[in-house]
């Protein structure tokens, strides 16, 4: 079986994002279909996403294989705009995420808006075995939303040692993104929302590089170490996000001071970003019943001032010959971007000078994330059925919306067709 042979070669395939390209040692024309339905739902009637996925991988010849990845996302709900939760405001209108327009009745602030969108993504990968231990793969991808388009291409080259215990991989990818609002182009960064200064569509080019190594330590342990570098140039601002200018104002009746939003601006981010990450993972089987532990750690840093540490742990315990239970734990901590601020302060005495860059997006805030999940898997109908549920909680240090809580439910079925 080609897939089994591929697994024995260990880890040449994990360096493609979301794609496990199988090596082609024999041409027995087997096809692997992996399909999934995921539901993501945030508490407090915020974002919900239904995601349908189909991954198809098959052999074209003894040296060639292809994989086709399809994804369809349906998104809706409410998302924070970045504006403060002010009880009073002089701002009177706002165009929200994906073009949902909102009026601010009675001067009340709109700090989140409803949205809906659909995303379709396609990725195609062709893997070719140049010789027994050398493989190359080419990838192309397309993703389309109502307000975003992305086109990507990649090439990955891997070399196995003669004993096939070590694999060295190098890869490049380029991505071109077009960003715009559903109803128009992109707003002028740090312009007043009420002025409605709209510019042309945003464009961004991203170049990625990866250098990786995987190693079989012994009969029960395998590990990998990757270094990735990414440089992006162009429009990085979120065209829907805003930031409030606020002042402490005394209520003439009660004498209580409250933060009041006086102005609202579209956010502004730098026009380039340089990222680095080191990623390491390992899989180890132990115990008499074949329990497996998978661990991963990523160190990430970029020139926006963000540094993060992400730990991931799964532990699979077989329940029988054909089923298992797998708890999952993930912990991440990130620092805030240099230009993140929950609002722009107006002290009422000196004129406000707007910074060059400013964003109140809670995703750029100092954040701690915890995920706890459980997966059950079993053999069914000649394939593998998996079901999992996860709880995710993010705590943001300074953002107006300082907490995001979500539940994830996913059902997947994988089957090999010979």
């Amino acid at each position: 079986m080609n897939n089994i042979k591929s697994k024995l070669s260990i880890a040449t395939c994990t360096l493609l994002s979301g794609t496990q390209v199988q090596a082609a040692d024999t041409a027995d024309n087997s096809w692997d279909l992996n399909s999934s339905l995921l539901y993501y739902s945030e508490a407090d009637d915020r974002v919900s996403v239904t995601k349908a996925i189909a991954f198809l991988t098959g052999d074209l010849s003894s040296e060639d294989s292809i994989s086709v990845n399809l994804v369809l996302d349906t998104m809706s709900g409410a998302t924070p705009t970045g504006a403060v939760k002010s009880s009073s405001s002089s701002v009177t209108s706002f165009t929200g995420a994906s073009g949902a327009s909102s009026s601010i009745a009675g001067g009340a602030s709109v700090d989140r808006v409803n949205f809906s969108d659909t995303r379709m993504g396609v990725a195609l990968t062709w893997a070719h075995e140049l010789k027994r231990t050398h493989k190359i793969s080419y990838g192309g991808s397309l993703s389309v939303e109502k307000d975003y388009q992305s086109y990507g291409a990649s090439v990955n080259y891997s070399i196995e040692s003669d004993n096939r215990l070590n694999t060295y991989t190098m890869g490049f990818a380029g991505t071109f993104d077009q960003i715009y609002r559903k109803t128009d182009g992109t707003p002028e960064p740090l312009s007043n929302v009420e002025d409605n200064n709209i510019l042309s569509d945003g464009e961004r080019y991203t170049y990625d590089f990866i250098l990786g190594m995987s190693k079989v330590f012994n009969k029960k342990t395998v590990g990998q170490l990757n270094y990735t570098m990414s440089y992006s140039d162009g429009y990085h601002t979120d065209p829907y996000k805003v930031i409030s200018q606020v002042r402490l104002v005394e209520d003439t009746n009660s004498g209580v001071f409250t933060w009041t939003e006086l102005e609202r601006y579209f956010e502004s981010r730098p026009d380039s970003r340089f990222r680095h990450s080191i990623f390491t993972s390992m899989a180890h089987q132990y115990g008499g019943t074949g329990e497996t532990v998978q661990t991963a750690y990523r160190l990430y840093t970029d020139d926006w001032g963000i540094t993060s540490h992400t730990f991931d742990l799964t532990h699979r315990t077989p329940l029988s010959e054909s089923s298992y239970l797998e708890p999952h734990f993930r912990y991440s901590i990130q620092s805030a971007a240099d230009f993140f601020r929950p609002s722009i302060i107006d002290d009422g005495t000196t004129p406000v000078i707007l910074p060059e860059y400013a964003s109140a997006d809670n995703r750029l805030d100092e954040t701690t994330g915890i995920t706890i999940g459980l997966e059950y898997g079993m053999k069914l109908g000649g394939g593998h059925l998996k079901a999992r549920g996860e709880y995710i909680n993010w705590q943001h240090a300074k953002a107006e919306y300082d907490e995001t809580t979500a539940m994830v439910m996913q059902v997947s079925y994988q089957k090999l067709f010979d």
């Binding site: 024995l8 291409a153 330590f217 012994n218 029960k220 899989a283 180890h284 991440s332």
Partner: protein, 80 residues
Amino acid sequence: MKAIITLLACLLLPGCSLYKSANNAFTIEEIKPWEKNILARDDMQLDPDPVRTFSDEHIYFSKEASTGGRGVGGGGCGCN
């Protein structure tokens, strides 16, 4: 060197009571092809479930500022 690697593994494996297991994990052995039966299992792949990995990476890409590490390519989206 091995002691340092073992200590780091201790931090990643669930609990230092598994020191022995961590020590065993990083024992380097020359494996013959016919000794790879455990390594061929689904749960011993470095990416044991590409669909799940793809799903998770989309979620965390959309909600956190950090991304990447596992690979390059695959396409972007407007979620972040």
